[in-house]
């Protein structure tokens, strides 16, 4: 077993252990995914908080009058602008990498969580065989295969519902994934300063379009257990950002991201 497979197997066994506790409850695997995602979110809460805090500091800098003045002054001297940027980072105690580092640390955790869900669902014979070799002896063998029914859908298949009068399938979870991703991205978007170099807001503007589409597409294509994970983690992200008092609710309103004057 490779080190990565061993790492993922810890997640698989944890997820299965939660499922084992809830096995008699209807929709146990769906609840297990939600609980396990909450658990992972709690463990990585400090990392998320550090990342959000650092990102907010970087965003606040965009509306800083001194920084805007420096950007204007050294518009044509990129080298000097970079020097000034480092100086102002130092003065304000901003570490530009501190918003990336928590994300880098979390990425393997996110991918392992994602893989543990797909591996537990075991939708092919090879995946089921691998699952039999992954789960620990402390788990009851009668758990396999997992009961993948949750609410109105099967967690092992992409979800959709048929509405009377509509001649197409409505992918409810994919829509919710796209919406929650959009809301989360929008809430973390800083108010635009309207400056020519307001790259941060432009970047998040692009993110708020692509990310919901990307994750919505995942939810549409892959087993719906992943959609449950996306919705849970997005919702927790929104809650965490709101609890930190940094959510920018105005962005959810039409025109809420109009340029505003720099604060004096």
């Amino acid at each position: 077993m490779s080190p990565w497979d061993f790492f993922v197997s810890i997640f698989v066994n944890s997820l299965m252990w939660i499922y084992n506790l809830l096995a008699s409850v209807p929709g146990a695997f769906g609840i297990s995914i939600i609980l396990f995602t909450i658990l992972i979110r709690l463990v990585t809460w400090p990392l998320n908080a550090a990342q959000l805090k650092s990102a907010k500091a970087m965003q606040d800098l965009q509306s800083d009058k001194e920084w805007q003045g420096i950007q204007k002054k050294y518009e044509k001297d990129k080298e000097k602008l970079a020097q000034e940027q480092m100086r102002i980072y130092k003065e304000k105690g901003i570490n530009p990498f501190s918003s990336c580092l928590p994300m880098v640390i979390q990425l393997p955790v996110i991918i392992a969580l994602y893989q543990s869900i797909t591996r537990s669902l075991a939708t092919t014979p090879l995946a089921l065989l691998q699952l039999t070799r992954t789960i620990g002896t402390f788990l009851n063998v009668s758990l396999i295969p997992l009961n993948s029914n949750f609410l109105w859908f099967d967690l092992g298949r992409p979800e959709y519902i048929n509405l009377p009068g509509l001649n197409f399938h409505l992918p409810v979870l994919a829509v919710i994934v796209a919406l929650t991703t959009y809301v989360q991205t929008k809430l973390t978007t800083p108010p635009s300063t309207g400056g020519a170099n307001d790259q941060s807001a432009a970047m998040t503007g692009v993110m708020s379009i692509y990310m919901p589409l990307l994750l919505g597409w995942f939810a549409l294509t892959f087993p719906s257990g992943l959609a449950v994970y996306f919705i849970t983690t997005n919702s927790l992200g929104i809650v965490q950002y709101a609890m930190m008092g940094k959510a920018n609710w105005r962005n959810l309103l039409p025109g809420g991201n109009k340029p505003q004057l720099a604060k004096k």
């Binding site: 797909t118 995946a127 089921l128 009668s142 295969p145 692009v206 990310m211 597409w217």
Partner: protein, 361 residues
Amino acid sequence: MKSNRFVLLAALILLATLLSACGGTPAASTWPGLAADQNAAYLTNGSIVYAVRLKDGQELWRFPEKPSTKLIFYSNPVFTVDGQLLIGSSGSEHTLFLVDPETGKDTWSFSDAADHWVASPLVVDNMIYAPNADGYLYVFDLLKDGTDKFIAKVELGGKLWAQPVSDGKYVYVPSLDHHLHAVDMKTNELKWVADLGGALTGAPALSNGKLYIGSFGETMQAINTADGSIAWSTPTESWIWGGPTLDNGILYFGDLAGHFYALNAADGTPAADSTKPDDAIIPTPLLLNGQVIFVTESGNVYSLVPGGTPQSMEKVDGKIYTPAVVSGDLILVAPFQSETHFLIVALDPDGKVVWSFTPEK
């Protein structure tokens, strides 16, 4: 600004690729399926079904002409009474095809199942009993035309990954949800359900009013076809994936820890001591000229003369999960993840390689 957008877009595409590779079900995401008639071997492998001439291992045709990521094949094909191939897709399109083995063209298809076709269908005269992973047994009458071929779907529950068997009155269908079902072939109604305590991935053997089936519950069990009651239950060392092969009143099968068993079908007692050749034994053994042929995950092909010990015939490159098949004097095995890219290896009864098939790109 444009470069930032480009970097962001590239990062998203990378993430999408990473996640797709990590968790999706790409082509050849599981082991292949194999069947053979007197002329050709038919291999289901990812998005392609290959027909390979038995005489020399040359490719005859591929199905479909233009492979699609929506159609993924890995169940073992089966033949209808008029020699057509029944092949199910496990891609995003859950289609069951009838394919002409002469031309490689499909002559009929059914796409209304909700999940993958993992199990091979059962053919009884002109009737087809096709279990689907959506938990339904689909019933077709091949004498009818087009869409009229579909007769009924019987709700059984769980994921149906194993081929059913029939005694002419009832169809017996195993499910991953631990249950074995008996379905009346006249009425398509459920007669009985038996909980066997573990997932059922292998087809049962059937003889003299008893079904013999192994499970993830680490037992081989005999079930009375009359009422689904358990006649006997014999514990094994590990989980059982494939079905048993019955020969002269003895059941032959292996388990995931690599043990190979010979049990008396009458009462489940050992007919011989179990052996442990070298690796996990996944598929059902087969019979050839009075010998039992079985394969192990490590790629070894063994022969066993009843009462003797397993003898290694050949070790092929790759892992073997697919049941070996016999046509004439050839033993065909389908290695998975072969470094030499062999998809089929044909052996003679002595275990010598006659030919191997690697598809041209």
